[in-house]
């Protein structure tokens, strides 16, 4: 029998259905792997081995009774931004360090209903604000990958860095992530895995700790395009409890994986060719273009003229929404409290002690751009340019079916690098933010290794609610790339 944590979700579902192994055996193999590797990775804030074994036993019973759901027995990591009833949910913030939600997020409720097994709550940047998972109030996550010949600890990307590291190290078969400006796609690229941010509105936001509500979107992270498609199917669907949830039927995403790209028109946006981008990333992009052309796609040069304004728009819109959303952490109804001389003093001390530096910066920027006298100059101007960015995508999708770009401007960097000033860190998201602002679906697929042996991803962007084409193009890239490289630290490795 193969080493179980190495299997894809698709293969594990087959193995469980054939009774080659039980859900409890599969959960146990992952629990052992987490115990062994989590001290080095810090991918989980709260592992839940007992809950996992309980859920696995239920899955085995359902498999035996013939009532198993679509994910019965599949062990997953849950980003600690999804509320899980009775299980501590921290958003990687000290201010929620002891918060135990009395309710379940819709996405995790759907995964539970499908029979998935929850291994624990995965680490992230505090309130999902970051691109390196170094802003977590529970310590940085270490990327399981290393540069060739170096022991330097690298970041897994962020904000879904714990989810990415867990999946890459084979201590979880898949994971939930959330993506506000690239938080699924950039860590997927940094850790050599696959992740999709679906269309805004595809997965319910109910029960996900809010960062920037007009951008936040849940999505899956896994080790193949097919596995992402399987998970996305279970996570998607209309939810009346989320006012921006889309009333759309959920297509059979898995059926799109092997659809191929023959006859598809793939746009290559000129503006994603940036000054200072490494030759390796440019080279990988060219390879991706050839792979799709060889499989029958037509390559079309297109323009998204407002691309360069995506990041500055994002760094007004996201902090503005965050400053409103995070106003709820005041030490009154839930979360930590620090006593003060009076009510205002209590608020101020609570928030000063409970929030980390990056969260404070973003709340303050958001407060400023929404304040009297500056609203029009900053926030309204940003919203208008956001409209122009959407217009760019709409014009492009009149000519092409999907876009191909690099996912991130670099490979994973070392913990402690890029911390000179906040803006340097923000540049990580330059290729992922525009799709978030437009609300269109986008996927990162591992496409190769750089000269230092680190994974690099390519990004596929599609039309609103056309995840199927994104998945089809992702499947074609995966097929051609044949990415099978393994990280330095993984569950089956010698450590």
């Amino acid at each position: 029998m193969r080493f179980l944590p190495e299997l894809t979700i698709a293969a594990a579902l087959d193995g469980l259905a054939a009774r080659d192994f039980s859900a409890v055996e599969l959960a146990q193999a992952h629990i052992v792997a987490i115990e062994r590797l989590n001290p080095a990775l810090n991918a989980f804030i709260t592992p839940t081995p007992e809950l996992a074994l309980e859920m696995a036993a239920e899955a085995d019973a359902a498999l035996a009774a013939g009532t198993a759901g679509a994910l019965a027995g599949i062990p997953l990591a849950i980003k600690d931004l999804f509320c899980t009833a009775g299980v501590r949910t921290t958003a990687a913030s000290k201010i929620l360090g002891n918060f135990v939600p009395p309710y379940e997020s819709t996405v995790t409720a759907q995964l539970k209903a499908a029979g998935a097994v929850f291994l624990g709550k995965a680490n992230l940047d505090e309130f999902a604000m970051g691109s390196s998972n170094t802003t977590s109030g529970f310590g940085a996550v270490t990327n399981p990958w290393r540069r060739t010949g170096s022991d330097a600890r690298l970041v897994p990307g962020g904000s879904s860095g714990g989810s990415a590291a867990a999946v890459a190290a084979r201590v979880a078969m898949g994971a939930t992530g959330t993506d506000t400006g690239g938080s699924i796609r950039q860590p997927a690229s940094f850790t050599g895995i696959t992740g999709i941010k679906p269309t805004y509105g595809r997965c319910s936001r109910f029960g996900i700790v809010a960062f920037a509500s007009s951008l936040d979107q849940a999505g899956p992270m896994a080790r193949s395009v097919e596995d992402c498609a399987i998970l996305l199917g279970a996570m998607s669907g209309f939810d009346p409890r989320d006012s921006t949830s889309a009333e759309r039927t959920v297509p059979d995403f898995r059926a799109a994986v092997r659809r191929g790209v023959r006859g598809l028109r793939i746009g290559i946006p000129a503006e994603y060719r940036m000054d200072g981008m490494s030759g390796e990333i440019e080279g990988l992009w060219q390879k991706g273009i050839s792979w799709l052309r060889e499989q029958g796609a037509e390559i079309v040069d297109i323009s998204l003229p407002h691309t360069r304004y995506g990041l500055p728009v994002y760094y007004i819109v996201a902090p503005a929404e965050a400053s409103s959303n995070l106003a709820r952490y005041d030490g009154v109804r839930f979360g930590a409290r620090v006593d003060g001389e009076d009510l205002i003093d209590m608020y101020e001390r609570t928030r000063a002690a409970g929030f980390g530096a990056e969260v404070k910066r973003r709340i303050m920027i958001g407060t400023y751009v929404l304040s009297a006298g500056y609203y029009d100059a900053y926030y309204l101007q940003a919203q208008k340019i956001r409209a122009l960015i959407l217009r760019d995508f709409t014009a492009a999708f009149a000519k092409v079916d999907a876009l191909l770009t690099p996912t991130a401007p670099s490979a994973a960097f070392a913990i402690g690098e890029k911390t000179d000033d906040p803006v340097t860190m923000y540049l990580n998201d330059v290729f992922t933010v525009p799709a978030s602002l437009a609300g269109v679906p986008a996927m990162s697929v591992p496409a190769g290794l750089d000269a230092q042996g680190l994974p690099l991803g390519l990004q596929v962007i599609g039309r609103h609610f056309d995840e199927e084409t994104v998945i089809a193009v992702g499947g074609a890239l995966e097929n051609a790339a044949g990415f099978h490289a393994m990280p330095a630290i993984w569950a089956g490795g010698a450590h």
Binding site: V100, S243, R351, Q381, K384, R386
Partner: protein, 95 residues
């Protein structure tokens, strides 16, 4: 436009975040770096462009105005830092 230290203090006050005096200069530098970066948005001509507030490509959904949830005070109060009976407790506001 560049923030002075008085403005940094005012923003912190509005945001209800206590900032100690030695932190002000660092915050001022960091916030000004971010504001300097977003300054480039001023060069875009937005004449006649309607602002886009959200990612959803849909009209706001309406529902019947009726109670669908409630009477769950205990689960809600379970996470309260301080409570008195079925109420959240806060420091005295009115003398």
């Amino acid at each position: 436009m560049s923030l002075d230290t008085a403005t940094v203090r005012r923003i912190a006050k509005l945001a209800r975040i206590r900032v100690e005096e030695p932190e002000i200069a660092t915050l001022q530098t960091e916030l000004n770096a971010i504001l300097g970066y977003v300054e480039q948005l001023n060069e875009v001509d937005v004449t006649g462009v309607e602002p886009l507030s959200g990612g959803a490509q849909m009209a706001m959904r309406l529902r019947e105005d009726q109670v669908t949830d409630g009477e769950i005070a205990e689960p809600i109060l379970a996470n309260a830092p301080d409570r008195e009976g079925r109420f959240f407790a806060v420091p005295k506001v009115v003398e």
